[in-house]
Amino acid sequence: MPPSLRRCAGLLALLLVGGCGGGADGPADGRTPVVFWHSFVSSTIPALDSLVARFEAEHPEIDLQPQYVPTGDALVQKLITAVRSNTAPDVSWIHADYLEDLVAADAIYPMAHFIEGPNGMSAEDLADIYPALLTYASYRGTLYSMPMEATNLGLLYNKDLFREVGLDPERPPQTWEELVSYSERLRLDRNGDGRYERIGFMVPVRPGTGPDGPWMVWQFQPFMMQAGTDHLVNEEQTRVLFADEPAVQALSLWERLFDLQNQRGFTNEYQSAFVSGQGAMMLDGPWSLPNYPRLLEGIDWGIAPLPAGPVRPATVVGGEYLAIFRQSAHPEAAWTFVKWVTQPEVQAFWSQRSGYLPIRASVTEVPEYRAYLETNPGLKAFVEQMAVARAQRPIEYSALEIQRELAIAIEQATVGTLDARTALARAAEASNAMLARADRTPPSPAPPETTAVTTARR
């Protein structure tokens, strides 16, 4: 049956070709496409749309295509797959923890490639960006990405519940001791069964080995900083610091709060528990602000700086960082966007719409932005807290594994039965063994231009 055979073969060919087609070969209108991977939450998307519209109005030659990728494990998995299959985006959100692998694979440009190029960036502009953010954006002292926005952690609290138990709603807890005593006042056992239906500060415990483990570690960090240790690892990257006294004090505080309130393991959504009045205080960041008017409707809420620890007031700085991929067909167009987004007026625009904090201190001195802050006390509290915001030194070897060890220790000391000191000692021992095994040969041959722009290691 030759005819039917031929038809079969034709069909097969069609299937194969059809499966491989459909690649984006540039738009018909002549604009340069720039694919931008991000993990903004849904409440930030309207702000992102307005940012993209403004960019394209100023740069009509570029077609910026934002694409959502779930954050956490999914983002790094997709980046690896994309790099391996030669389909990497032009520019993507990345996290400091991914830099080790991305740099080793030579997947991204060092920023000096663009900063010193024809469409460069001045030293003054670079110096205006919070140094903490540049620390996170760098790997072993070389800048590999640019911050897009800043965040930190503050204390969200319910003023109604403060009033109910006779606490001054305009005086949130100032110290660790007050955090404990306020929590004791706010906890409430309605039916006398020894379980609290309402608690004060919700200790943000999550399964240590789960996808939220690194998130929990990040939330734990301001407490370490308040007790005197900024970093998880020493400068030589040979020893972790979370078995030292400050970290033990911080975890002991969490352990104490957890036990004191008989907090029952982890709830799925601390925010939901806050909304339903089951917790009066929680950690939260400025990215949630656009959601509050709808989410916290009917609640008199406030944002306060985190209570000061035994050594100092402090919070942890976070942010999102943009990296440009070597596989990009239009790296200069991608850089145009990255550079554009760091401009002060764009930062002010972006902050007002998204709730994120500006990456440059100078933006907060713009009168227009100052006036906006007066109308938005929540954002103002976060911006002011940047004065005590501190950065952590990135872990350069086995970062994810080491954070997991710390996450397990936090879980063991709160949900589990170990005390903080023992749990941290075990985690530190395992982590130090990983650091001892680390392959310390330098990453891929560094291109000559990387030497010029480096950031100070803190």
Partner: protein, 327 residues
């Protein structure tokens, strides 16, 4: 007469097989199919199959072989080159105490889930065999969890088992029982996982059992009824032995399925608290797609394969010795 029925299942099943064979012979078969296929027809058939074969080779056969190769390599997925490390990955797996913990957790999950699952599936299948009002609706209802996305189901159950807001604790306290710390208590978290695991998968086994039940000729029951056998002895001496092939199939499948459990764990408990619900495939996932240690993860995968292979052999052998299955 009753002696025949209460005798070994083998004799009965052989009789059943004869019936099936006789029925098959009664169906007229077009002579063309009987003819040995020529080479050209074989080629045609192959071409028709080729899309499926291609997909099968690319997405199933190749990964299986590649992963075996990888289990002797060290590779972080990013780098272009991988290094041969011999049996080092297997050695590292065996010397990791966490591996033994997740192996134990998986065993506990399987030992609890499989019997529960099978008893429930068989029970419901037998009950729905009878004349019940709304039989189809009930069957569909029991089957629904199978087709529901695991992630969606996991999210819903996560809320049900939420220690503060969840329906499970509301229900428990409403009837005067103490609330359970579903997420903080190791045993409770495992129990929650088992409940969801059984809920999610027993529907498919119910359908398999139902198919097995409907294949049992009704005259055995009629004959037994005449002999005065009550429903329990009918079940014990007709249904169970004749259902043995189905039971073996369901057992093997459930065992493999529960050793491979991942999605529900990933969404429901995330391995917590303190790793109490961390199972083998979750452990594998963490090493493969979080730490990108592909060689190590492949070694775990092949150890899991070895365990399942041995377990399946043992089950088939056990059933064959009892004469229930002709393998």
């Amino acid at each position: 007469m009753a002696g025949v029925l209460t005798g070994e299942g083998q004799r009965v099943s052989r009789a059943a097989a004869d019936v099936v064979r006789a029925e098959a012979a009664a169906v007229p078969v077009p002579p063309a199919v009987r003819r040995a296929p020529g080479r050209r027809e074989g080629l045609t058939a192959f071409l028709f199959l080729s899309p499926t074969l291609l997909v099968f080779v690319v997405f199933v056969v190749f990964p299986i072989l590649f992963s075996f190769y990888l289990s002797f390599q060290q590779w972080n997925l990013f780098a272009d080159d991988h290094a041969f490390v011999g049996l080092a990955n297997y050695g590292a797996v065996f010397s990791d105490p966490e591996f033994w913990q997740v192996f134990w957790n998986t065993t506990v999950y399987t030992v609890a889930t499989v019997p529960l699952n099978m008893v429930l599936a068989l029970g419901v299948a037998v009950l729905l065999e009878r004349r019940v009002r709304g039989k189809r609706l009930l069957r569909a209802a029991f089957f629904t969890p199978v087709v529901v996305s695991s992630v969606a189901a996991g999210v819903i159950w996560r809320w049900v088992f939420d220690p503060n807001l969840g329906l499970a604790n509301v229900a428990l306290t409403a009837v005067g029982l103490p609330a359970v710390d579903w997420t903080a208590n190791a045993a409770a978290a495992m129990a929650a996982l088992i409940i969801v695991g059984v809920w999610k998968t027993f529907g498919i086994n119910m359908v398999l059992f139902a198919a097995g039940l409907s294949a049992i000729p009704s005259h055995y029951y009629e004959a037994a009824a005449i002999d005065g056998a009550r429903s329990w002895s009918q079940f014990r001496h007709i249904t169970l032995p004749l259902l043995a092939p189905t039971t073996l199939f369901v057992l093997v499948l459930s065992m493999i399925g529960s050793f491979q459990v991942f999605d529900v764990v990933f969404v429901l408990t995330r391995g917590g608290p303190l790793g109490a619900t961390k199972v083998l495939v979750y452990y594998l996932y963490e090493h493969a797609f979080k730490f990108f240690d592909m060689g190590y993860a492949s070694a775990v995968a092949y150890l899991l394969f070895a365990v399942l292979f041995v377990l399946t052999l043992v089950q088939v052998r056990a059933f064959r010795n009892r004469g229930a299955v002709a393998v």
